[in-house]
Symmetry: C2
Subunit: 428 residues, 2 copies
């Protein structure tokens, strides 16, 4: 089929009639599928149930150095969990703190704490006239929600396939002392699924911030989430790059086992320089006597080490790879050459990112919903939920089965075609 | 022996010589005991190890209404955990949210959030010139640390055996709009071990705050922590009292299983009016996708219901009651009638509170430390760590064995005597 843009009005009208009919048929099937959130499927969760066998009432719940995990204490995490999470992201254990089950909470707390106390002696952000954050987009909606919630002005930075537009990042960071941070998902990014190039990471490490309390929030959520054995992204380790560049305190890195073990029952980690960690420990002392160390120990006993994690992630990949491929197959087969959209082909992570023709995303998502397929709200991947081009749509293929994903994507491409035809007809 | 204050200088000098010798003997024993923190003993933790048998890899980790606890979602807690924690404090499940393992974190977050966002539409506290909190003292040091950390001005309210001095509380709360809250441990209070009388609770519920965002932080940490079957304190349920009084939104109540199951692996709850909960849920949405629901479900399966909790708490009581009694026996035997101190005789909770002669507490704690017994720092039970009378000492009898507690208390009373004699000699 030829590109839609080259079609005459008559051709478009007749195509529209056909697509409308297909859509009515699809609607009558009563689909009920959700590809809106990056959630593990039941098969993945089942695959990790051995986590529940690790302990029984005869277990000794002590750390390797004899600390009782059942009691208060060890505020910043058990040593072996620091090592495990550190190995996931290539950072020494002494640079890691271990928290509860949510790295999102840790990021929220970082911003919240900076608002009330600043960072390492800086003016509390709530006392400043203006605080700004750089938001590479499309990006993770929940990052943007945090900064929005605290009244931080968000500046959209376009994403390329190499990472954020670093010319712009460098300009803002070096020229504007109100720019206090940037949100990043450096590996298998949400939603693009791309990984930052070595040059991008090095440019990050070599930033010359106008604000001394500027922080890169490096949310390495998909560090070990490969889809293939033979095609895997690697990224440079940011902490050591920052140290090399003379900016040891500029980055705070996050990771978690939410998509390794259980989202509702995993552990989260934070990695940073010693100076940052000492500062963070100060406020932790006020906030808590310690996180759930029993669950930290449970994870260590189950996965044992980074090899255990890697082997486990292969099993996850075996379950979700077919779903990614089901989506990509349908997109390739149905949309290639039509000029109505572009999409990424990630080799890891939890998402595929789709860009429709400008001004079509909202309508596509609405159409899908009308026929029973829920997608992430259009715009969600941009600050304030506003995609200036109204074109980005995040596809989360992991939760449904491959067959369901194929069916959902069949509907999705139909909606893309239909909305694109309508759009083109408007201008005829 | 007669009261020390009635002794002549010569009598005191000779007593001092004898006590000095006893102290040197005691020091030579090389004691190493800690009665500083309210921690469970190993025997208590061992007694709860069945918690680790609740799940294995064949378990179905779903809530009663079919939600998968392993995955994201159910941000504010699983229904059956709401019920369990609600029953612990006599509040309906729909008024309860369930968090991670630390109610202290929840309290920190309440204050932190009020600083940045106010409460239910009020001005963020960080935008106000002055924010004040009432701090009944002696009280829980970690409460005071939170408000101190956020620069809140703390006003000490004397504690009586009925609860805080309510005349003062009423005066401050009704007259000063900068007074935004009060810290309370209403039952088996930390450190006094007393419980608020019905009149105290009713006066709390009937407060007429000048600040519309005034909140009572009702830390019901020891709700089910009785030491005896036949002597148990009960307190009026504050949420319903506040509602009756036309102040439904004035209180936020906390509880946890830190001293029911494991401190490093329990669950915490918050109870409040629907309006408060709706408001709190708004910020939770930004902060997290959900807490550890697997652990919430584990607790419900283990304890089953409030009867299970009550039965379990009897076992705790059997372990810690002898320790309380060991302390009280030594205090009674050694200090009765000497006029050098007064102490509480709690029937629940985790602490005994001792008041020395004025100006002696710091010295007593230092002396104990010199001979190997660690007590909570003198002053810790007051705002800013400053006890105006330098007389309150918190004794935490739960962690050591009864024999160790007896030995530690032997040393403690010796130090009390010695420091008191020295004090009296100073004025001779």
């Amino acid at each position: 089929m030829k590109p839609y843009k080259e079609m005459s009005k008559d051709e478009l009208v007749s195509l529209k009639a056909e697509l409308d009919k297909q859509f009515e048929d699809a609607k009558s099937k009563g689909l009920k599928l959700d590809m809106s959130r990056g959630k593990q499927s039941v098969a993945q969760l089942d695959m990790t149930m051995g986590l529940m066998d690790v302990f029984d009432s005869s277990s000794v719940l002590k750390t390797e150095d004899g600390m009782d995990c059942r009691n208060y204490g060890l505020m910043d995490g058990i040593p072996e969990a620091k090592k495990l999470l550190g190995d996931m992201i290539g950072v020494p254990a002494e640079n890691v703190l271990v928290f509860g089950n949510s790295s999102l909470s840790v990021m929220y707390d970082i911003i919240s704490h900076a608002m009330t106390h600043g960072i390492m002696g800086s003016t509390p952000w709530c006392k400043l006239d203006k605080v700004k954050f750089l938001c590479p987009a499309p990006g993770y909606d929940r990052h943007f929600k945090i900064t929005e919630y605290f009244g931080v002005e968000m500046i959209t930075i376009p994403m390329t396939l190499e990472g954020p537009d670093m010319d712009l990042v460098e300009k803002y960071v070096s020229e504007d002392a109100a720019v206090k941070g940037i949100w990043c998902v450096p590996k298998y990014s949400n939603p693009l699924g791309i990984s930052f190039s070595d040059e991008t990471v090095r440019r990050f490490a070599n930033l010359k911030p106008a604000a001394k309390d500027f922080r890169i929030i490096w949310d390495n959520a998909y560090a070990v989430h490969h889809l293939y054995d033979d095609k895997q992204d690697t990224i440079l380790e940011i902490l050591s790059e920052c140290e090399k560049a003379g900016n040891p305190d500029m980055v705070i890195e996050l990771c978690s086992t939410s998509k390794v073990s259980f989202a509702g029952g995993g552990i989260a980690g934070l990695a940073a320089s010693k100076a940052n960690l000492d500062y963070i420990r100060e406020s932790m002392t006020v906030r808590t006597i310690g996180y759930d160390k029993v669950n930290q120990l449970r994870h260590v006993k189950y996965f044992k080490d980074i090899n255990g994690i890697a082997a486990h992630m292969k099993k996850h990949a075996d379950i979700i790879r077919p779903k990614f491929e089901a989506v990509l197959d349908v997109l390739d087969r149905e949309l290639n050459g039509l000029g109505v959209g572009e999409w990424t082909k990630p080799v890891g992570g939890y998402f595929i990112s789709f860009d429709s023709m400008e001004g079509c995303a909202k309508e596509i998502v609405a159409k899908c919903k009308e026929a029973g397929v829920v997608l992430t709200g259009a715009g969600a991947t941009f600050p304030y939920g506003k995609d200036p081009k109204d074109s980005n749509i995040r596809i989360a293929p992991t939760f449904p089965t491959p067959e369901e994903m194929a069916a959902a994507t069949d509907l999705f491409v139909l909606c893309v075609k239909l909305v694109s035809v309508n759009k083109l007809l408007e201008s005829k």
